[in-house]
């Protein structure tokens, strides 16, 4: 009557994570998402560098060897953020289709789908970063320190992307409304980016906003990245713990906050 069902081993979390991650990545190779990721890095490079290079050139003369050197960290961050934000959209769509609920009823750790989406986002961020660095090279950005600092630069950017996609994923899962995600894609990162030392030094901003500009996380990330990238001018500092601390503090703080929040969001009845 019925054939004996083949013996099933306990599904390993790693295998499940891998399958889901691949599920997110493979379609992108076909549906144009990859092309968009590449395009986005080019767009951000062109869009931030070309218009501002003239206006900001004088303001940054003392700080950086060229405006390209100055703005590169922000370009990289914007490109990576764009890639990370798409996770929110995908999470919301999955949530809407009830897939998240389905996943939760399977013998799978609750964080596995989230981890898979973030991994797919990290893949996308890496592509975005790679293209951004190529574009950066074209406009004149150079790494002036050794290989370990370059690695640190890249790792930092990817970690920022991962943390952002984690947060975006939670927002998307909680909202179940892909349409509401659309305004979040571009403006918030751009706003934070423009209100940071990524585009111009602190003193160029009106007084009342300088404290915000100085202390917001994007500025910290940009400072850290500049130091890791190095420069020929004397204003480029050395890589010290005091420079890196705020960045690391922000990142670990965000990660620490996101984990319990994710537990709450994921356990809510969808």
């Amino acid at each position: 009557m019925t054939a004996a069902t083949p013996a099933r081993s306990r599904p390993s979390t790693f295998a499940q994570w891998w399958v889901l991650t691949v599920r997110f990545i493979i379609p992108t190779l076909r549906n144009g998402e990859l092309a968009l990721t590449i395009a986005s890095s080019v767009v951000f490079t062109a869009g931030l560098y070309i218009p501002l290079s003239h206006v900001m050139g004088t303001a940054t003369k003392g700080v950086s060897s060229s405006y390209a050197q100055y703005i590169m960290p922000l370009i990289a961050l914007q490109a990576v953020t764009f890639a990370a934000m798409s996770t929110a959209f995908r999470a919301a769509t999955d949530s809407l289709q009830g897939l998240n609920r389905r996943f939760r009823s399977m013998p799978m750790a609750p964080l596995t789908p989230v981890a898979a989406r973030i991994s797919a986002a990290v893949y996308r961020c890496s592509v975005a970063l790679a293209v951004a660095l190529i574009c950066g090279h074209v406009i004149g950005f150079r790494f002036y320190r050794g290989a370990e600092y370059i690695t640190g630069f890249c790792v930092l950017v990817i970690v920022v992307g991962a943390v952002m996609s984690f947060g975006a994923d939670l927002v998307g899962t909680g909202s179940r409304n892909p349409e509401a995600m659309t305004p979040l894609f571009i403006l918030p990162p751009l706003i934070f980016g423009l209100l940071s030392v990524g585009v111009q030094p602190v003193r160029q901003f009106p007084h009342w906003i300088q404290p915000i500009v100085r202390n917001q996380p994007i500025s910290q990330f940009v400072d850290a990245m500049r130091v890791l990238g190095g420069d020929t001018t004397p204003a480029a500092g050395a890589v010290t713990w005091s420079v890196m601390m705020p960045t690391l503090a922000w990142l670990s703080g965000l990660a620490v906050v996101l984990v319990p929040v994710s537990a709450i969001v994921l356990s809510k009845r969808q």
């Binding site: 968009l36 206006v55 959209f89 409304n177 349409e179 305004p183 979040l184 009106p206």
Partner: protein, 276 residues
Amino acid sequence: MMSLVCEEATHLRADEPRHENSVRVLVPQTLVQTQRILLRWARDPTTALLALVLPICFLVTLNVVLGQQISQITGHSALYGTVPMNALAAAIHGSATGAIGLIGERTDGLLSRLWVLPVHRASGALSRIIAEVVRIVVTTLVILGVGVLLGFRFERGVLASLAWLVVPVIFGLAWASLITTVALYSAKTFLLEAVTLVHVLAVVFSTGFLPVDQYPRWIQPVVAHQPMSYAIETMRGLSVGGPVQSPMIATLLWAIGIAAACAMPMVFGYRRASMR
């Protein structure tokens, strides 16, 4: 017992049947469908709010970051460039939301359901267009409000001010037709991200962001002639002064050009999305 017979309707259908596509029914049927779409949008306050709050924040940000430099260079407040730009940008982003909703309705089968009703064949598409116009007017007014709070003033009289309000509508409709056409032929995520990227390009390479002469020489022609710049210049001229006629003509040419190019694919695509 259930009354399956509705008296009035039977009486109505005694009318000559061949007039499904008569103009007389187009207006009321379109209005009913427009009302539906507007109700839908109104009932989703998060999207509406985000769609307004963010452009406002962006407006403020731009003025904070670049305001001083621009007013030094141009002689008048940067607001006369950034307010139009944000109104236009909000129109663009709003239509992306609308297009995503359209794709959703196609997937759900609602479009097919509405297609099978005895309504004018054009009423569905027309209702979307009208709803879009309403949305653009609302977002423009809100952004204008914030601009006024920041110091924006109309200095060219009532007629010019009204014309100022019309420009985003024209621009937004042309843009919406482009996005909708793309939406009818592609997938959700692709649409959203592609629109966002084009949005970024349109914004940073427009005269609302920086005056033309602040851009490197080789890109100045692109910046000067792209549709968003023309629209911004038209609105600038209508609010604070400067040439109106030539940017206005250029804006109209762009708008008509885009809409005309999209008209056929859009109608075709809408039909295809409703039918099977």
